[in-house]
Symmetry: C2
Subunit: 331 residues, 2 copies
């Protein structure tokens, strides 16, 4: 048997595109590349940027893309795996109608392309190779622009009728804060980065002081990235600390609710903010869960995502392997 | 092969004990008996009443208890299936320490006794023989004294680390109403019958008028049973209607949160209040879920429990069959 070939993985986010070339058997990243998600040009511009990113990762690994056994893509929005299309990707520019992303990329790369949900593949990566290696059930909580969730029960992914994991839209306060989704009181209305930024703007308009927007400009950012929040906290910015505490309390209530319902072994906290803030914030989230846990004498283990920023791309590579294990290895 | 023998099933509730003799192959109830759960005498008195109830059901069926292939018991509290003990049964009198319920009953009945969680067995009964026969995933919501939940994923029961299903303690309003469990803002703080009764008392103390307590006394009840609530609603009692609406809104938010997380096919509403109010109330609960559902263009099916009051006892009989399929049929 020839050695197990490498796979490509692309994590398509609202802010950035992360591509890797990954060797599943060795669990090694052979090449990687990251670039911002284009804000103009619609799905075609995004597909172009994804292709460039993977090409760069493949160049770094010294493996032509048509020698990859397959490429996986973790994408937001609605995915039709059969057709290889993505539609209704709310965080991506002008991406409402179905766009045939998999065929487009397959044609460019000269290998098979598999599509999966971004949060699901990241959860599977943590389960297979990251913080959840030893667990048989877990809840992945991806704390970033929004808050997404991924589930593993009995060592198997759970996606319900195809759309499970909307943990960000669990109600933590009926009639509470307005969520970017338009509803009220969702966990994401407190904890999502977009909602946090809206809150910072609103409080600034009311005369509160904060260094958040100055730091954002100094870093050449267009929005309050996780790095901007981290910097503001380091500087003892009171408004930032207050909004983060509100997010942590929202996460505590929502994640505890999920645990009360599911009694899972392990909660893995990932996503841009989760990975950036790391272990100390995970401890604060667990502390915020405690008052809401029905069985508070045996809380689940709560850990930060072990694969960090690369979890989504690694999960995408693993998806390609799972869907096409016996890939027709090009000669 | 001899014909598949009958099984006993006992549903142990905080208010009543329901016993049946059930024929699984024919899905027929051959005998049944119900009595109030003793409020005095501790676990021994409860075990005595359970034994009498099953004896009466067996007499009705014309089958001696030692001819039953097994008896299942659905119980609240913490269950140790190996030891056959129940402990920490909060809704039962003086039942904190482990009590060896299964050995005690097995000795009396002359057949094997299996213990399971009351809500889990009722959920399994709805899945196997009731409203969920055609579903592969479902959430059972048992709306009674408290609010319990049961889960089926991929046609298999899910109990997590043994204590899944505490849907009543999902947070629907952070910092909200005080729950009988001592926490704040749980779904049960709005929707549990015990919390509803406390609310009715509190509002009466503040001078609000209601027929609830008069109806309770006329019926010789010690608390506001589902029948009392139903009667008050029929009479157009405003306070009762207001508290029920508050419960429905709480259920809507909590169940929608669970659906957003799990994307299950079917929600089955059972329990004393759920079964009593039936279809019209289930429609109100679905309406209350809608504003919180993230994918509101394809809500899950929501149905009333098809097995009604007997679901728990039928589920207990099915548990006995599942745990001991090849029961040593006494000659």
């Amino acid at each position: 048997m020839p050695p197990m070939p490498a796979r490509g993985g692309i994590d398509l986010g609202g802010t950035k595109i992360q591509a890797i070339v990954f060797h599943p058997a060795d669990e090694r990243v052979l090449g990687q590349s990251r670039r911002p998600t284009p804000h103009e040009g619609g799905p075609q511009a995004v597909a172009d940027a994804m292709a460039e990113a993977l090409q760069e990762a493949a160049d770094g690994a010294g493996i032509p893309t048509d020698q990859l056994a397959g490429v996986g893509v973790g994408s937001p929005g609605e995915i039709d795996s059969e057709a290889g299309t993505v539609s209704h990707a709310a965080n991506l520019p002008d991406w409402e109608a179905p766009f045939a992303l998999a065929p487009e990329l397959a044609q460019r790369f000269g290998t098979r392309v598999s599509l999966g949900n971004d949060v699901d593949v990241a959860t599977q990566a943590e389960f297979a190779l990251g913080a959840g290696r030893e667990a048989s059930s877990l809840l992945g909580v991806f704390w970033g622009t929004g808050v997404g969730g991924g589930l593993v029960f009995d060592s198997k992914p759970w996606s319900g009728r195809g759309a499970a994991g909307e943990i960000g839209h669990m109600v933590v306060k009926r009639g509470g804060a307005r969520c970017p989704c338009g509803r009220r009181g969702c966990m994401e209305a407190y904890a999502g980065r977009r909602a946090m930024e809206a809150r910072a703007l609103k409080l600034t308009d009311r005369g509160r002081k904060t260094a958040l927007f100055r730091i954002m400009r100094e870093r050449g950012r267009e929005n309050l990235s996780s790095g901007v929040w981290a910097k503001a906290l380091e500087h003892g910015d009171e408004l930032a600390a207050e909004i983060i505490e509100r997010a942590v309390q929202g996460l505590g209530a929502g994640v505890a609710s999920a645990v009360n319902l599911l009694d899972i072994e392990l909660v893995v906290i990932g996503g841009g903010l989760g990975v950036r803030f790391g272990e100390p914030m995970v401890e604060r989230i667990l502390a915020a869960m405690m008052p809401h846990l029905f069985f508070d004498d045996r809380p689940p283990t709560v850990r930060v995502a072990a694969l960090g920023d690369l979890g989504g791309a690694i999960g995408a590579a693993l998806l390609s392997q799972r869907l096409h294990p016996a890939a027709s290895t090009p000669a």
